[in-house]
Amino acid sequence: MANLNRSIVRLTALGGLLFSLGCGSSEPPAFRLNMVAMTSGEVTVAEDYQQEIANVLDGVFGTPDHPRVISETGLDQSLLDMAAGPAWSDDAGANYGLYRKHCVHCHGISGDGRGPTARFLNPYPRDYRPAVFKFKSTVNAAQPTDDDLHRVLINGVPGTSMPSFALLPSGEVESLVEYVKYLSMRGQLETALTNFTNDELGVDDGERFALDPLNDPEQGEIIKEMLAEIVEGWDAAGDQVIAPAEETAPLDDRSPQEIAQSVEAGRKLFYGKQANCYTCHGPTGLGDGQQDDYHVWNKANKLFMDEIANEELRIQEGWEGDDLTKEDKDDLRAREEALVARREVASTLYPVRNAIPRNLRQGVYRGGRRPIDVFRKIHTGIAGSPMPGIGTTLSEEQLWNIVDYVLSLPYEAASQPQRALAENIAEIN
């Protein structure tokens, strides 16, 4: 027993030693770049450019311990200060470092959805950096409103690992909403800077064109324009909320017959060739239709890994070619060299998962269970997912019919697992 205890102490000490020596735990956490984006293009963003992009991002947004926003972002510095930095409480009981206290273990320091627990979750936590959010009231391509982010924090996302933070004081929730927007805007600027570097900079005739807004005022202007466009997108969200006309919305005091009529009309649309819901959600509504597509976050990683495999194949074929010149061989070696960094990035990625259409018979609604939440999903689709909208084709009344049908599915008396009912198959064929 004593031996065992000693060994535990030893192991713990060893772990501590490894932690302190190997990982440099004394360093403050730092924002990291999106290495998939940095190494995925034909013209890989070279390391010196990566450093310059990191510097510009720090210049505009600061660090995880000291976020600093310039006024153009419209972000509230005091709210960010509450959310950023290490978690602590002052004598009066006010809490700071809220992001690291509540969010970072899943969503990561950089908001990349790659915190320590992320790998073990399904679905993976949201990566804020592309500023694509699924559960919101606005049209597909638009940013969420502050209210939307607030609602996700208060309700959590049912059916996922995202819990409710309804017990936090409202000021703390507000601070976290601001911090999520901050991480998103930062990610958007990173993408814009990466594209700019790929499109406009590079080495020409031995001369390297740096990303250097300090000495190139034109670049400074371009960066401000990028930022303005990003902020404009967030500011415009409130104008892009899907708001159906009040007179089309179903009344609260409908008779059972009226509800049944609407559900029946919705059922016909669900399995019909206009709305096509069944192609993905299945003739059963169990989500067992088309399952081969991906969410944008997974798709980016899949394309990255596919491209590595393709390049490996091309290089192999290259070596098998006849009459290779010295130039050919140098070229192939350079390409092999370039693959090393990409393989290293690929080794850090999580397994790619398919987007599985929602099983509509479970009665679990990730984006909210209010009829208006379901209405908006059917109207505009779900951003970042394969789910399309049908709002441009159907009338609002028809959309409400589908809402009624979808919300009735968990209560439909039927054996489990649900079979494709003959009457539904008749609509499909």
């Binding site: 535990i8 932690f19 924002f31 990291r32 510009v56 720090d58 210049g59 005022p217 074929e317 399309p388």
Partner: protein
């Protein structure tokens, strides 16, 4: 005592696992996470951005040329043209997507067997120094059709300000999912048409997909002027009313060029004359009222072969 033993054993395993986890998860990450910002450099950049006058006025590039000219050309594949396999069609819509058991061929690299011409190469001016009135953006509606579960325009160039009339000529439902700044994802009912106004320019074509039929793929190139072309089945393109007497830089893109950017890189002597870059760009300086004709041989290596 006995009862507590397994607990301790678990504790030891736990500690070992923790140490292992720290070793693998905690430390391994530093390998490929890229650089961390340099605080001193970042602070200077911040001050420059805040002050707004980081070293003088931005000078507008002066236009040096006059007159207009036409650029024509042809991309010809060197070697044996690849044979396109059929699309990987599966699912419940086989009768429509594979009519009579015949599935449409893929279009990842379409080479004309007679002329060797390469179709679906996009050629467009990156930043026009001047735009002729005949090359100003249009504002009408342009048909974007799909039939037998194939987008009929494989590379679809359009103006910002124009509207895509997304049509579904199939008796089954499709959805059209556009990536990028003009993001869109709506179901297009059997036989129906959905309109989508294009509002943002893109530097490179963006993928257009159908989630119901995931093999369906097309590319959208939204541009602010008419200085674009997509090669026809003979590999030909023509761009008229280009600014003459000054440098004009063109981007050349094909979906099967290696890497994710689609940059077509040529290294032939003729390409060198056009200062063809590793980003798939070349530069011309045209004489007024002239027509320049480019005959460009494309080796299979330009597609990674």
């Amino acid at each position: 005592m006995l009862r507590s033993k397994p607990k301790h054993a678990f504790g030891a395993v736990h500690a070992a696992a923790c140490a292992a986890l720290l070793l693998t998860a905690g430390c391994q990450q530093s390998v490929s996470l890229g650089p961390v910002a340099d605080e001193v450099a970042a602070t200077k950049i911040r001050e420059a951005l805040l002050s707004g006058d980081g070293g003088g006025e931005v000078q507008a590039a002066e236009s040096g040329g006059t007159g207009w000219a036409t650029l024509k050309g042809r991309f010809v594949y060197e070697g044996t043209p690849p044979v396109m396999p059929a699309y990987d069609v599966k699912g419940g819509d086989m009768q429509v997507c594979s009519p009579g058991g015949v599935t449409p061929k893929q279009e990842t690299l379409v080479v004309d067997p007679e002329t060797g011409g390469i179709a679906n190469i996009a050629v467009y001016v990156r930043k026009a120094p001047r735009v002729h009135e005949s090359a100003q953006a249009l504002t009408d509606s342009v048909l974007f059709d799909q039939k037998e579960c194939v987008f009929l325009s494989h590379v679809f160039a359009i103006n910002v300000g124009q509207t895509m009339a997304i049509k579904n000529s199939d008796p089954v439902g499709h959805n059209t999912n556009i990536e990028g700044k003009n993001a869109f994802n709506q179901t297009v009912p059997a036989g129906g048409t959905v309109e989508w106004p294009i509002t943002k320019e893109e530097a490179l074509p963006k993928a257009v997909r159908c989630s119901i039929h995931p093999w369906m793929l097309s590319y959208l190139l939204p541009r602010k002027d008419r200085y674009f072309a997509v090669t026809n089945e003979k590999g030909e393109f023509e761009i008229a009313y280009l600014p003459a007497g000054e440098d004009v830089e063109l981007q050349v893109w094909h979906e099967s060029a290696p890497g994710n950017s689609g940059a077509v890189v040529l290294k032939s002597p003729e390409a060198k004359e056009l200062s063809w870059s590793s980003k798939g760009r070349f530069t011309v300086r045209l004489d007024p009222d002239s027509t320049k004709n480019l005959d460009l041989a494309v080796p299979s290596s330009a597609f990674g072969g």
